[in-house]
């Protein structure tokens, strides 16, 4: 059946409920809710959260926004924690300690801090061991929970509280790590990069594939942050769209090693369009800083070209 946003929202109850304390205009709850909608209604899920915005805003004792089972332990170990849950499931199922006709799916959520940085080892281990789970990184490009400090996912030149745009050093001086490629390097059955783009078709379909592909799967989803990025709360979907249309955040998937770019803009927008509405890049638009935009554009182009090549090479007969 073809994807229909209205039908999905009307027919599938939200398993991540309202009442949580995420900021207005934040990308993460939008992403989380849509991913859980991809679960079959009859399936139980265990959700694991790394410490981060999403965790501290959705499960403040004694309230929880999660209707499935949920576990949070620490910042750097969502991968390992959930692999323990999954191992328990495999063991108990095998021993007949759980009902045979019931199925449980395992989904971890971590921000870029808990995933690209402090939790990278735990994630890599869990993926390499092949636990039947999905790890979702909601990438907002900095440590937003602790007050917008730079991460390895922070884009080049971005102004953060530990890479402030100063008079001598103009923001973060390093380019961002490409985690999706690192995960593709694990040769997993399914790796994808997505965003809450347009009518959520891309995100919904990728979530469904990731959840129902056997083995360890990884989703990297853009999750803009109004406080850290500096946009007004009603611009969330516009920012998402610009990230994709400039090819700053390409939508693609890697299925058993084969790359597929899910959206190739007919007219690739200049990256300025994505940078301009965000306060974190404001200094790049000052006279004399044109070189920064040029460098940023060069990196975006280079990575887009690489991706096109990967698609071509991995799909050769």
């Amino acid at each position: 059946m073809a994807y229909n946003l209205k039908e999905v929202i009307a027919n599938k109850p939200s398993r991540f409920t309202s009442g949580h304390r995420m900021c207005a205009g934040c990308g993460a709850p939008v992403v989380g809710r849509m991913i859980l909608r991809a679960l079959k209604e009859e399936d139980h899920a265990v959700i694991c959260n790394a410490t981060g915005c999403m965790e501290v805003s959705t499960f403040i004792y004694p309230y929880t926004a999660w209707t499935d089972s949920f576990i949070h332990t620490a910042f750097e170990c969502a991968g390992a924690t959930l692999s323990g849950v999954e191992a328990a499931y495999v063991s108990m199922k095998k021993q007949g300690k759980l009902p045979e006709d019931e199925h449980t799916k395992f989904i971890a959520f971590g921000g870029d801090g808990g995933t690209y940085d402090i939790g990278l080892q735990s994630l890599s281990g869990a993926m390499e061991r092949g636990h039947d789970m999905v790890y979702v990184c909601y990438d907002n490009g900095a440590y937003m929970n602790t007050g917008i400090q730079r991460s390895s996912a922070t884009p080049h030149f971005a102004d953060t509280t530990t890479s402030p745009a100063g008079t001598v050093i103009p923001g973060k001086m390093q380019i961002r790590k490409d985690l999706t490629q690192i995960m593709a390097g694990h040769h997993l059955p399914y790796v994808a990069q997505s965003a809450a783009y347009m009518n959520f078709k891309d995100l919904y379909e990728k979530s469904e594939k990731a959840i129902y592909t056997k083995g360890a799967c990884f989703l990297n989803v853009l999750a803009p942050c109004p406080r850290g990025w500096g946009y007004s709360t009603d611009e969330l979907m516009k920012i998402n769209k610009l990230a994709v249309d400039t090819c700053y955040w390409p939508l693609y998937e890697v299925i058993d090693g084969k790359y597929k770019i899910n959206y190739k803009p007919a007219k690739k927008l200049p990256v300025e369009e994505f940078l301009k509405p965000q306060k974190r890049f404001k200094h790049m638009f000052k006279p004399g800083n044109e070189w920064m935009i040029e460098e940023f554009q060069k990196e975006v182009d280079k990575r887009w070209e690489e991706l096109l090549n990967l698609e071509e090479v991995t799909n050769k007969e």
């Binding site: 965790e55 332990t73 692999s83 849950v85 080892q121």
Partner: protein
């Protein structure tokens, strides 16, 4: 009929784990505990257990996976030593605060640095305030027996705390000794099945574990942990009695070896107790009333009982195989002396830091401690209670 065997300490623990047949074991190798997951993965490969063995990429992940597994409703076990436990440290606190009765075999080794792979108790002492029940074992038999008793204690509804069984790295972990094993079926019956009240994999009752727990609740939750630790004392006593019925082997909070009428008592833990018993026997032959109190239950600490057990001695030496580097003495010394103080028992006490980094502690070293105690008894003077035993010093 019990089974007579010859096993190393690591083999003994691995054998106990095989008999317990936990749902999940997640472990990462570190000397001298490495053999435990090695032996155990052989049991898994040969289909002798139902366990999922998770060969994690670090000890931090080992404890994280054990937490996940135990929260899911499974029995989870692991083994580690020294820096491995240090790397787990963050998760050690989380395991106990989430009230997950995980069982860990700690093969004691010096924590770096500099790097040293041999025995002392600095690893265990680093987690003594983490809310884990801690049982110490003199030899292979005790390491095995404590492991068999572990789940019954940890999973008791009034307890629900994780538990670690300590034994001395290399000294017992790699030494082959005679051991009496219990038959598989009897272990199975004694340990019983685990039926948690709430668990993640129960579709009928989804639960959320590990909240942000702020000013309004964390204090009460910590109080509940403290109460559980107090309850553990009674449960350890009950389970030890049941174990005695099964095996005839008697376990208490501590072992009193010729200490009840002793003038001079050494308090210590793990394998040094064996050496001390030998010295006590020798001194008794000479008419010197020496004795030993070997602490088995370090957490919770048997405050009233230990103060009482030492109350009739003339002088007591407390041996710490780890220094707290606080300028005042080791952890066991502080626990014992504060127990005596709160119980209004005064006996002159002296502390010896010994055996650090695997330095051999010989019978002569223990004899020298008993000689010191006799001198203190005559002079009535303790110049410095915080002493090092057998350390080389620069000439002043």
């Amino acid at each position: 009929m019990s089974i007579r065997e010859r096993l190393s300490g690591n083999e003994a623990v691995a054998t106990a784990m095989k008999q317990i047949n936990p749902d999940v074991v997640a472990a990462f190798p570190i000397t001298p505990s490495t053999e435990i997951p090695q032996y155990f993965s052989t049991f898994v490969s040969n289909g002798q257990v139902d366990t999922e063995f998770v060969a994690v990429e670090s000890e931090h992940s080992a404890m994280s996976a054990c937490i996940g597994a135990e929260a899911a409703g499974a029995r989870a076990m692991t083994a580690t030593s020294a820096n491995g436990l240090s790397l787990m440290w963050e998760m050690i606190y989380i395991a106990s605060s989430l009230r997950l009765p995980i069982v860990l075999s700690l093969v004691n080794r010096a924590v770096s640095g500099p790097l040293n792979i041999h025995n002392d108790h600095s690893d265990a002492m680093g987690v003594r305030d983490a809310g884990w029940i801690m049982l110490f074992s003199e030899n292979n038999q005790e390491a095995y027996d404590n492991t068999i008793m572990a789940h019954r204690i940890a999973e008791n509804k009034d307890v629900m705390l994780p538990l670690m069984i300590c034994q001395d790295g290399f000294i017992t972990s790699h030494s082959i000794e005679n051991i009496e094993l219990i038959e598989d079926s009897k272990v199975k019956e004694f340990v019983g099945e685990y039926h948690p009240e709430h668990y993640l994999l129960n579709k009928k009752e989804p639960i959320a574990i590990g909240p942000l727990d702020l000013q309004a609740y964390l204090f009460e939750h910590k109080f509940q942990q403290a109460e559980a630790m107090r309850n553990a004392k009674r449960v350890i006593e009950e389970v030890s009695k049941d174990f005695e019925k099964l095996t005839g082997r008697k376990y208490s909070f501590f072992e009193e070896y010729k200490s009840q009428d002793a003038d001079y008592i050494i308090v210590c833990m793990n394998s040094t107790a064996g050496t001390t018993k030998y010295v006590v026997d020798k001194l008794r032959e000479k008419g010197i009333k020496a004795g030993l109190v070997k602490v088995r239950m370090y957490r919770p600490f048997p405050v009233e009982e230990i103060a009482k057990a030492l109350s009739n001695a003339k002088v007591v030496a407390i041996l710490d195989k780890s220094d707290s580097l606080n300028g005042a003495g080791g952890a066991l010394f502080e626990d014992v002396t504060s127990s005596m103080y709160t119980q209004q028992t005064y006996v002159p006490t002296v502390n010896y830091i010994y055996g650090i980094g695997g330095r051999d502690t010989k019978a002569e070293d223990i004899e020298s401690v008993f000689e010191d105690l006799q001198k203190i008894d005559i002079s009535k003077k303790i110049e410095d209670p915080y002493r090092y035993l057998g350390v080389r010093r620069e000439e002043k």
